[in-house]
Every structure is written in structure tokens, then in C-alpha cells.
């Protein structure tokens, strides 16, 4: 019951956030009615054309009413039509989302074990050579912007060594080889940060009295790390991984644009470039859902891992 109430409250908050987000996005993109018309009709369209277009599309109604109307449509699954792609947005977005989920999922699949392993290895022995190495790796990789990383890797692996394909359009269906570079960029961009988080968490946990208790019980170092420290040390990274999702999503946009990967990121980018207002709105809403849902998942994961929070 308590869990249900907690979950209910969280989901309520999620919906409220979504509502606020939709209002903000709508406000940002559509409060200036004339600008909407200009974006759709081109900035050198005549005032008459704009007025006619606005009338036809119900823009003579007050902002709040338009917002509610849009919200109603959105909630009922009618997300409008993309002005750029000339297609129903729902139909347009779903395969793109799947493609991006694949990319982000693959990146997480590599990134999570790698960063946890690095973080643990360096956190167990703070100050060791491994630790310094990992720290250096982390600080270097997190300092290189995604696009620069992508450029470097392309130069090396595509143009230099010729090992990997330089674009990831998946034109001929799914291709693992095409996934390698985008995933590599995402992994390199985030692993360092996650590893550092894991390391900090590990160091903190290794200083806890119960680790000493385990030591004094006669437990071996490996047992101390894996049985006693790990689960407690994972609390922070797991949350951080979930909270990394918005960050990864941002990286996904850059990487998708760079490698022409046909995912959600390029869709949003094209929509933004071409002022496809409805599509931008839909994409923004979806990315916010992804973020908020990941936060919810983070909470759930945290509760699942930490018995202290269970049943409270």
C-alpha cells in the first residue's frame, strides 16, 4: 500500500512536470502567433497570407484556449503533422525513438559495466596507479566535447584505419558495425564521469564502519569488496546512471547528427532547423518523458538496492 502510494505520488508529480513542460514549450514556441505563421509560411510571406493561415489553423483563439486544445489533442494521441516531413508525427516518431533507444541502450550496455569496473577498481585502492590512470582517463574524456570526439574517432577508424563505416544510416537494415562509432563516442563521453562517481561512492563506502566490521570478521579483501561494499557503493552510480539519461540524450543528438544516424536526435535536430513547431513540441515532450521516467526508475532502483528505503 505504502509503495503504491509512493509510486502514485511520484507519477502524479511526473504528470504535473509534463504539464508544466508542455505549457513552457507551447509558450516558447507559440505565444508569438505571428512568429508561428512566419515559421510555417516563411519569413517573407505576406501579412495577408499569414492572417489567413492563422485563421485556418485556429490561431485567432486566445493562447490558453489554444494550449488546452493542443493538450487535448496531444493527450488523445493526435500530435499533429510535421510541416517539414509532411507526415503524421506519431508515425514519424515511433521508429525514430526505437532507433535511438537502440543506440542509447547499446551505449549503456557498454558504458555501465565498464564504468562500474573502472570505478570500483580505482575506488578500492584510492591513490594507486590504477586509480590515477582511471582519473586521468576520466578527466581527459570528459573534457573533449562529443563532436570533437566523434571527429577524432572518425579520423582514426574510418579515414585512417578504414576499419569502420563512417555513417550509421542503417540504410541496409540493422548493422552492428555502423553502431560501433556512435556507441564509442557516447561511451567515451560518459564513462569517465560514471567511473568517477562510482569511485567516490566506493571510497566512501570503503570507509564505513561496516566494512571494518567485515574486515574484523576475517573476510578477505575480495569478499569485502564484492559482498559488502559493492551493493552499497552501487547506490550512487545507479542513481547517477539514471540521472545521466538526459545527458546521454543530449550526446545522442550530437552523435546522431554527426553519423547521420536516423534516430530521434536527428529528427529533433531537423525539426529545430526547419522550425517544425509541432514536431519540436512532440519531441520535447517525449524527451522529457524519457528523463522524468528515468528519474522515477532511479528512485525505484535506489529503493530496491537500499533496504533502508524499502517499506518506508
Amino acid at each position: 500500500m505504502r509503495v503504491a502510494a509512493w509510486l502514485g505520488r511520484r507519477i502524479g508529480l511526473l504528470l504535473l512536470t509534463m504539464l508544466a513542460v508542455s505549457f513552457l514549450v507551447h509558450l516558447a514556441l507559440e505565444v508569438n502567433v505571428d512568429a508561428v505563421a512566419v515559421k510555417v509560411l516563411g519569413q517573407f510571406s505576406t501579412p495577408d497570407q499569414r492572417a489567413a493561415w492563422l485563421r485556418e489553423n485556429g490561431y485567432d483563439a486566445p493562447f490558453l484556449l489554444r494550449y488546452l486544445r493542443w493538450l487535448g489533442h496531444f493527450a488523445s494521441g493526435d500530435w499533429g503533422r510535421s510541416t517539414y516531413y509532411q507526415e503524421d508525427i506519431v508515425k514519424l516518431i515511433l521508429p525514430r525513438l526505437a532507433a535511438s533507444a537502440l543506440l542509447a541502450g547499446a551505449a549503456l550496455l557498454v558504458m555501465v559495466p565498464l564504468s562500474l569496473a573502472l570505478g570500483i577498481a580505482s575506488g578500492v585502492r584510492a591513490g594507486s596507479l590504477t586509480d590515477r590512470g582511471v582519473s586521468l582517463f576520466a578527466i581527459l574524456t570528459t573534457s573533449v566535447p562529443d563532436f570533437a570526439m566523434a571527429a577524432f574517432l572518425t579520423a582514426i577508424f574510418v579515414l585512417g584505419l578504414g576499419w569502420l563505416p563512417g555513417v550509421s544510416t542503417m540504410a541496409g537494415g540493422f548493422s552492428l558495425r555502423e553502431l560501433v562509432l556512435p556507441v564509442m563516442v557516447l561511451v567515451l563521453a560518459s564513462t569517465g564521469y560514471l567511473a568517477r562517481m562510482t569511485r567516490a561512492s566506493m571510497i566512501e563506502v570503503m570507509g564505513q564502519p561496516y566494512i571494518r566490521t567485515a574486515l574484523l570478521k576475517g573476510a578477505s579483501p575480495s569478499r569485502i569488496v564484492f559482498r559488502h561494499a559493492l551493493r552499497n557503493a552501487l547506490l550512487t552510480p545507479v542513481t547517477v546512471i539514471m540521472l545521466q539519461i538526459p545527458w546521454i540524450l543530449s550526446g545522442v543528438i550530437i552523435v546522431e547528427v554527426f553519423f547521420a544516424y536516423r534516430g530521434f536526435g536527428t529528427l529533433l535536430y531537423q525539426a529545430a532547423l526547419n522550425s517544425d513547431v509541432y514536431l519540436v513540441e512532440a519531441c520535447a515532450m517525449i524527451s522529457v518523458v524519457a528523463v522524468v521516467a528515468s528519474q522515477l526508475l532511479a528512485d525505484i532502483a535506489y529503493a530496491a538496492l537500499d533496504p533502508r528505503l524499502r517499506g518506508k
Binding site: 504535473l16 512536470t17 508544466a20 513542460v21 513552457l24 514549450v25 516558447a28 514556441l29 582519473s135 578527466i139 581527459l140 570528459t142 573534457s143 573533449v144 566535447p145 562529443d146 563532436f147 570533437a148 571527429a151 577524432f152 579520423a155 579515414l159 539519461i245 538526459p246 545527458w247 540524450l249 543530449s250 543528438i253 550530437i254 547528427v257 529533433l268 535536430y269 529545430a272 532547423l273 522550425s275 513547431v277 519540436v280 519531441c283 520535447a284 524527451s287 522529457v288 524519457a290 528523463v291 522524468v292 528519474q295
Partner: protein, 263 residues
């Protein structure tokens, strides 16, 4: 206080870039907007880092390019800090409805993936210097708010704050004199990281073609401009990449050094 080497190196690099940015007109050997001879490789005496496709001196463009990157990220970060620190201190100390309201707004903004937020802001406002600053500020302020709020909540529970209350200290003094200085070390770390992060974002916007309009020498834009030629003329991409990475790296080093020095 012992100075960690990371801090020293970081400060040195950042100071160097700051000097470069401030004294760009004096240092830059050429006008960054004037074409000379195209695609010279690095090494020529007049153009030590070579020239770009349009024959502009890369060194001068890097030097001038330090300005927008540093000043825009600095401006954006500072404004974000003013907003975030003010709201965070108040919310964390006062709690209650104010806190709930601020926190909700921060949550809403933070539920946008950063780049999505910037795209929406830039789409709504169009790309320009000012709008880049607005976009980055808009994204950073809630994050700063969250950090400051957490610190303020923590410090507000300390006994010395209770002592100040029992002495009848006015709220603004409690916020600015009792709480803020204690949050400063953590904020200094975050400030450096955020500054670097803003630089990355400004570069990324440039990469996406949403940054500064040409022909402004902007590091991200230089990378994009040179990308197609990078295979034959790697210097077009490598130098701006090194510039932005070194700046961000230096800021991370400072953050790291500060963190280390604090422990």
C-alpha cells in the same frame, strides 16, 4: 595550504586563455577575418598554425575565438549563478512553499535534456550571441539552484545558524555571511565544471550550426568548417579541438584541484 599540481596546471592554462582572450587584438598576428593564402599547413613563419580554407590565419582565429567562448560561457555561468545562488539560498533556508515552488520550476527545466532545452530556446529566439547566453543560463541556473539549495539545507541545520537565529541576525546576513561562504568551496568546484560545460555547449551549438553567425571565429564552428577537409588538412580541426579541450580540461583540473585541496 598545499596546492595540488592539478590546480596549478589548470589555473595556468585558464589564465593563459584569459590573457589571450583579453589581449587578442594585441597578440593575434593577423586579422582573423582577413583572407591570405588558403590551406597553408602549419609551420610557415607568418602562419605558425597554418591557414584555413579561406586563407585566414588559424592562430589568430583561435586567439580571437577564445573571446566568445570564454566571455559567453563566463557571462552565462555568472548569470546562472546569480539566479541559482539567490533562489537556492532562499529556498534551502526558508523551505516551505517558496522552496516547493522554486524546486518544481527547477525540476521542470531540468527534465529537458540540455541540448533539447537549447534547441527549443534557440528555435524560439533564433541564434545570436545574446540568445546563446540566454539558452545556456536557462539550462544552468536550475542546476546551480539545486546544488545551492542542498548545501543551504545542510548548513541551515548546523548549530551556528541556530546561534545566529537566536542572536537575531537578519535573514540576508544569515544567507550571505553565514551560509554562502560555507557553500563557496563546493560552488567553486561546480563553477569551474559548469564553465567548462558551458564552453562545450557553446561549441556544440556551433557544431550544430546554431551557434554564432559567420564569420565570427568560434571554436565549435571552426571544427565544423574544417571537418570536411580534416583528412587532408588535419590542422583545421585539431587546433580548435585542442583549444576547446584544453580550456575545458583546465577547468576540470581546477575543479579537481579545488576538490582535492578541500579534503
Amino acid at each position: 595550504m598545499k596546492r595540488p599540481p592539478a590546480l596549478v596546471i589548470g589555473v595556468a592554462i585558464v589564465a593563459l586563455w584569459l590573457l589571450v582572450a583579453v589581449f587578442a587584438p594585441v597578440i593575434a598576428p593577423h586579422d582573423p577575418l582577413v583572407s591570405f593564402k588558403p590551406l597553408l599547413r602549419p609551420g610557415a613563419a607568418a602562419f605558425p598554425l597554418g591557414t584555413d580554407l579561406l586563407g585566414r590565419d588559424i592562430l589568430s582565429r583561435l586567439i580571437w575565438g577564445a573571446r566568445p567562448v570564454i566571455f559567453l560561457s563566463l557571462a552565462a555561468t555568472l548569470i546562472a549563478y546569480i539566479i541559482g545562488v539567490g533562489a537556492g539560498l532562499l529556498a534551502g533556508y526558508r523551505r516551505g512553499v517558496l522552496d516547493a515552488g522554486f524546486s518544481f520550476i527547477a525540476n521542470v527545466i531540468l527534465s529537458f535534456p540540455v541540448l533539447v532545452l537549447y534547441l527549443v530556446v534557440i528555435v524560439a529566439l533564433g541564434p545570436s550571441y545574446l540568445n546563446v547566453v540566454i539558452a545556456v543560463t536557462f539550462g544552468s541556473a536550475p542546476a546551480v539552484f539545486r546544488i545551492v539549495r542542498a548545501i543551504a539545507i545542510d548548513i541551515a541545520g548546523r548549530d551556528y545558524i541556530a546561534a545566529a537565529v537566536t542572536q537575531g541576525e537578519p535573514t540576508w546576513r544569515i544567507l550571505l555571511i553565514e551560509i554562502l561562504p560555507n557553500a563557496a568551496p563546493a560552488l567553486a568546484v561546480d563553477f569551474c565544471l559548469r564553465l567548462g560545460y558551458s564552453a562545450i555547449i557553446i561549441g556544440s551549438l556551433g557544431f550544430l550550426g546554431l551557434g554564432l553567425p559567420p564569420p565570427a571565429p568560434d571554436w565549435g564552428g571552426m571544427v565544423t568548417d574544417g571537418r570536411a577537409l580534416a583528412f587532408a588538412f588535419p590542422h583545421l580541426v585539431i587546433f580548435p579541438c585542442i583549444a576547446i579541450s584544453s580550456l575545458v580540461l583546465a577547468l576540470s583540473l581546477i575543479a579537481d584541484g579545488l576538490r582535492e585541496a578541500r579534503q
